[in-house]
Structures are given as structure tokens and as C-alpha cells.
Subunit: 417 residues, 2 copies
């Protein structure tokens, strides 16, 4: 008997038909004899009356003056409503179930309303209900302070609720149900032959999420990673097994590590490149530039400090402010709007020679200029023009053979470990 945490997002709970699929996944695990904790998001997408955005619309344009504590109270209704709807369906099918708010589920947080951190989880009450053979439905995205105040964990918070509960309850697996068949090698809206991955490591999925892939919240992955609880990202609307996320050792020991150097691609659009040239200027140019950005809360990326000056990127929306700040410091930066950052991600590229060569070759062959680049031991980033994005993603996807279904081969045999 396994203990499984399932998390269903808003799209999976948006209408009767989707909720039938949700029921199917729950009942399958129950009939296999497993214990189930089901974490739910608010129902539906923007436009549905009980979606998080719709609740916020009750405030927006009406003064927008709701204090953070009350904002969290308001938002907590979204998950409560979808939890009750799911509970009703399960009961009607004859499966006893109970709804617990984040607080009732034992999730204690600090009091940073809107982005509270989980301090600890007391799983006692959940375990009691599981022992009584009940499905425990927990409202995602929310917790409670020690003083009994309702808090929310910020966007992506239901993923965090799910993995944190998985860790606290020592679950066998945390299944994150979404509307795609797992984690894909690239965004299928941009790369026609993108395909689902069978398995990735925690580090890889973190890199993907941090670099623009909308798969699972990075904080949720970090929590699972620390405790080594395996996560599966899978589709509500199919019976596909989805993508297993665990640590590299576990993947190797299960023989499902591939002979791959590159796992997938991610990208971020709407990036502006700023270049500040150092014409006999002060030696503390970079210090003054980044201090100005930081003091105004502008996130910077792709920082490249050279004797001749500084290159870095900001979001297109922050660009006008950044340029004004630089002007106040007496600098006239070169500004290139409409750039895109492409991330080539692979836990297996560490120390592998030639990855950068493949990237340069593929982009050059496609006539795409590389505006800037950076690398870590698991990711290489290139900055290109947004107009080149579709072609660049397709070219890199093909160059690394990501469209090919890999053989299940143990990398340990391959590299003789």
C-alpha cells in the first residue's frame, strides 16, 4: 500500500468533464489499495467566477486597497470551493472523503501574507483520516500561522503544498496533474516535434522552471529534492505515466537515465539587452550600475562585466526605468529590445565537451546571431533576437536529437562507472 499525494490544477477542476478525469485518477489509485491525499487549486482559469484571478477582480478597480491579510482570506475561498466540489463528487461515488484547509491539514506558515513560507507540517490529522480509509482533500496554496491566520503561499503554491505534504507524510510519490503529458523537451507551441521526457532530475526541472518553462514551481521541486521524494508530472486528461522527477542516482539505479547530454530547451521572451561602454569612465562603473538597478528592484540577468564595459539584460517592461537610471548616472547605454533567452539544459552536459560547439554550429547554420552567452555546469544560455526564436529553438532541438525517442540505456554502462 502506497501513500500518494495527487495535485490537480485549476484547468483539471474547471468543469464537470475535467472533474470526471480527476475522479478517474483518484479511483484508480484507491482501487489499487493506495492511500490518497489530494491537493486542489482553485477551479478554472481566469474568467471562471471561482478562479483566483476572478476573486481578485472583485477588488481590482474598486480601490485595490485590500490589506494582505484580508487578501489571503479572500483568495483562500478559491481552493475551498473546488475542494468541496471534489469532495461532493467522491462521496456521490461512494468514496468517503474529507476536506481539510491548509491550517487543518497542519500546514503552519510564517505571516508573510501572499507569499508565506511553510515552517512545519504536522501530519497527525491527515494520518488519522487516512487510517479511517478516507480520501483527504487539502486546499492547496494555503496555510495558517500559529495565531490561526489564513495565509497563501504565492503563485504556484499548490505545487508547494503538494510536495511539502509529500515530504511530511513520507509519501511514496507526489503526482502533479496538469494539462500536458509530462515535461516536454521544449515548448510544443514553438517546437512542433517536442516530446515528453520519461524522467528528469530535480536539478534539470528546476533549471527548466527557472528559465521559463511552465512545468512546476521551482520552490516545490526544491522541497521534494531536499527530502528525495519522487514527483511525477502527468496529464489529467490521459493515462500517460508522465515524467518522473527524482535525483540522478535514483534514475541511474532504476536504469532510466539516458545517454543524453541535453535534456530539453526553455526560453524567456521580452528581454532587453543593455550595453554600457566604459569610455575612460570611473573604475566603479559596474558597481554604480548594479547598485542603481538593485535599489529600484530591477532584476538583471546575463551580466557580463568586461574592461570595456558592462552588458546585461532586464525585462522589456523594466527597460525604460533602467535606461532612465543609467542616464541619471551619466551613461548612454546601447539598448536592444525584443530579445529572447534560450536555455539549453542537461544534467549530463557537465564536463561534456562540445555542447557549446553544437549550439554555435546549429545557430550559425540557421543564420542566427548570438548576442550574448553564459553557462553553468548544467545549462548553457544564449541571447538572440526574438524574431529568430522559433527557428533557433527548432534548430537546437534537432541538433541535439531531442525529437528522437531515446533508448533506455544505463549511463553507468556507457561511461563505465
Amino acid at each position: 500500500m502506497d501513500l500518494i499525494v495527487q495535485k490537480f490544477g485549476g484547468t483539471s477542476l474547471s468543469d464537470d468533464q475535467s472533474r470526471r478525469h480527476v475522479l478517474r485518477h483518484i479511483i484508480r489509485e484507491l482501487e489499487a489499495g493506495n492511500q490518497l491525499v489530494v491537493v486542489v487549486s482553485a477551479m478554472g482559469r481566469s474568467g471562471d467566477p471561482y478562479a483566483t484571478d476572478s476573486l481578485l477582480d472583485l477588488i481590482r478597480g474598486r480601490g485595490d486597497a485590500l490589506p494582505p491579510r484580508e487578501r489571503d482570506l479572500l483568495l483562500s475561498c478559491g481552493e475551498l470551493i473546488s475542494a468541496a466540489v471534489l469532495c461532493n463528487l467522491l462521496q456521490a461515488e461512494g468514496f468517503p472523503s474529507v476536506v481539510l484547509t491548509g491550517g487543518q491539514a497542519g500546514i503552519r506558515t510564517d505571516d508573510h501574507y501572499g507569499s508565506a513560507r511553510i515552517l512545519e507540517i504536522n501530519g497527525e490529522r491527515i494520518r488519522k483520516h487516512l487510517s479511517a480509509r478516507e480520501v483527504v482533500i487539502v486546499t492547496g496554496f494555503q496555510g495558517m500561522t500559529r495565531d490561526g491566520e489564513v495565509t497563501t503561499l504565492g503563485r504556484g503554491g499548490s505545487d508547494t503544498s503538494a510536495t511539502a505534504l509529500g515530504v511530511a507524510l513520507k509519501a511514496n510519490i507526489v503526482d502533479i496533474y496538469t494539462d500536458v503529458d509530462g515535461i516536454l523537451t521544449a515548448d510544443p507551441r514553438w517546437v512542433s516535434d517536442a516530446r515528453p521526457l520519461t524522467a528528469v532530475s530535480y536539478e534539470e526541472i528546476c533549471n527548466m522552471a527557472q528559465n521559463g518553462a511552465k512545468v512546476i514551481h521551482p520552490r516545490a521541486v526544491e522541497i521534494a529534492m531536499k527530502a528525495g521524494v519522487p514527483v511525477r508530472v502527468r496529464s489529467t486528461f490521459s493515462d500517460s505515466e508522465g515524467t518522473l522527477v527524482t535525483n540522478a542516482q535514483a534514475l541511474r539505479s532504476q536504469g532510466i537515465w539516458y545517454d543524453r547530454t541535453v535534456t530539453g530547451l526553455a526560453h524567456v521572451k521580452n528581454v532587453t539587452q543593455l550595453s554600457v561602454v566604459n569610455h575612460d569612465g570611473p573604475a566603479d562603473l559596474q558597481l554604480r550600475v548594479f547598485r542603481a538597478m538593485a535599489s529600484h528592484g530591477i532584476s538583471v540577468d546575463f551580466i557580463n562585466v568586461m574592461p570595456t564595459g558592462v552588458h546585461y539584460t532586464v525585462s522589456d517592461s523594466d527597460a525604460p526605468l533602467a535606461v532612465r537610471l543609467l542616464a541619471e548616472l551619466g551613461f548612454e547605454p546601447q539598448v536592444r529590445r525584443g530579445c529572447a533567452k534560450v536555455s539549453v539544459i542537461g544534467g549530463g552536459m557537465n564536463g561534456e565537451p562540445g555542447v557549446m560547439a553544437v549550439i554555435v554550429e546549429a545557430l550559425t547554420a540557421a543564420g542566427i546571431p548570438i548576442l550574448q552567452s553564459a553557462d553553468s555546469n548544467t545549462t548553457i544560455w544564449v541571447l538572440i533576437s526574438e524574431t529568430d526564436l522559433a527557428e533557433a529553438l527548432q534548430a537546437l532541438h534537432s541538433a541535439f536529437g531531442l525529437h528522437l525517442t531515446p533508448n533506455r540505456r544505463n549511463i553507468e554502462e556507457e561511461v563505465g562507472l
Copy 2:
């Protein structure tokens, strides 16, 4: 400085325009230097997505199997949402305010989900916020068990929340805002010259509410009555003072008791009269009849036991079952469907001779047969045909001069007390 509890119903909170009126009443009291606890119902009427009925619609027709505990969790969202919306408006106008759930407001209840009883109220937290010059917005209709479970108080529960808080906080007054100008002498949809009453006693309003007038929940009145906290029923949409509800002594001492024997009329439609005749039947006829009704949960009214048989009324919807039960006992009742019960209510009629005479005279003059009658020391009930209802109400309203604005005269002078 007074401490005032204000309660706003769903219609008062249903749209931006109504909420402007709500704000007006709140700000008026704040500017007069008063402390305010504002109790809110769920927004809007049936059809609005956040109304109580709409939340229930998420369950209805989808198995209807939600356990009572989870049903209360779901319903509690209605008031939370309207409380947050009101808090936002107040903050935007520069008035600090805080939202407290029933539990956070210190309302402890038993665990009879759906119709929980208030066990005690700890007003400490509310007082703390009031001292900090904050408007305290409390979600009506709900409380919390000692174990931290959310409960609801049943229909009309926001009125109960308001008067119970008024008692616990020793409020100077509880203002129940609704969509009519206080308590009227009769239902204005039936009696064209019905007019608002300046003051009534707790007993009178209880009688009205129990006899079909939709003014304020009887349980709420009982709570206020026990502690002697005055209540005002008034309109959100006007500046009328509404109707003061307090005890007869207080009304007398303030000189606002009228020389009236009859205060108002109330009525209930869709009543069926059943007559079971005792043809040499068993002596325990009435026992067998009422035992059968009770065992099937049928409410009976207008019971009239005579040597010749039994007359009583049930609702039209219970009538078919009642007739079947009587047939099973071997009785063939006379059945008169489509009756109406008219209540003539007045705290001053106790011992006053001639009230029944006025009723009989008015109805006889209008050619309306009285099918049955009953009386207590503050109310006389007559059963008539529903087709005669409009004419009967108008005739009685005129006969007792309820359309005339009374002089403010102290009954003590009148009766020489």
C-alpha cells in the same frame, strides 16, 4: 461614543451601487465618533455567483452528497468574499478595517453543522481591533467549534450573528439593514397603504416573523430580547430611522409606545385544512392522528380538538402525505386546499375586549367566511380561503386604522399607570 453593530444582508452588498449605500451608513457612524462592528451576509441574491444558493448549486445535481461539515466550509466562502469586498472599499476610503471570520471573532458554536448554536462569544479580539480604531467586519452566519471546525448557523444566521455579537459586546444598538424601511404594518405587496412602524416590542416582531413576515430571524430577536439589547430594522437605501425593536418597558419609558391594540398583520399562504370527523370512532382519535403526523415530520397548526372530531392545518406540500396517513388509519378527512392564515398581532391587545369583534365584523362586511380561528394574548389567527386573502388583509388593515400615522402618546398616561 456608542458601540454599534450593523448587519447588511445580501441585497445590500450585491453590486457597487448598493455597496455605496452601505459605505454611507458606515461612514456616518464613524464620523459621529462611534465604534463599529459590521456583520455581512453573502453577496447578492440567487443567481449571483457568490450568493449562498449559487455555492450550493455547485453541489446540487452533482450527486448532492457533500457531508454537512464540508457543506459549511463551502458556504462560509460566501460571507468571506463579501467581507473582503467591503474591507477593500473601506480601506480605499481611508477607513482602517479588518475582516474576522466567525471563529476569529470569537463565536464558538456546537458542531451541529448547518444549524449550529452559539455556545459563547469571546469578544476580546474584536475589542482590541475597536480600540485600535478599526472597523471590524465579521462574516455573518458562521462560527467555529472548539476544535477549529467552521460551522454555519442556518438560514437567517447573519441576523443571529449580529444580535449575539451585540449582546456579547454590550453594544448600544444592533442595526439590521435590509431593503425595506423597517417593519411594516403589513406586507406592502398585499396592502397598498401598509406603513413602517416607529417601534415594536421583541414579542411583537417575534410573532410577526413566526407568522410569515420576513423581517428578521426569530432566533436573532430572542437573543437580543434576553439581554435587552435594542435592535433597529432599517433600509440600506434610505436615511429613514427604521423600526426600533426593544422591550415594552423601554418603549414606554421613552414615550414611544402607541395607543394601539393591534400593531400589524402577517400571513402565510399555501395552507390545507383537514377535518377528521369522529363517527362513533375510537376515543383516542386525536392521539392517533397527531402521532401519525409527528412520526412523518409533518408540522401541524390551527389544531382544534372537539368531541365531534379534529380540525387542523398542514402546508399544501405536506397535504398529500397527511391524507394518505389518515387513510391508513381508516379516516376519510375533509380536505380544503388553498387556505391562508392571517395573523393580527399586537402587544397591546392583551385583555383588550373587542378585538375579535372587530375582526369578525370587518371580514363579514367584506363577505369573507372565517374557516377557523385561534388566539393567544398577543395574536389572533384566522383561517380563510386564499382567494379572499388580499381583501381580508386590506379590510383588517383599515378596520384597525393601521394606515393612520399614530400620535406619539404614552400609553401610561392613557391607561393611567
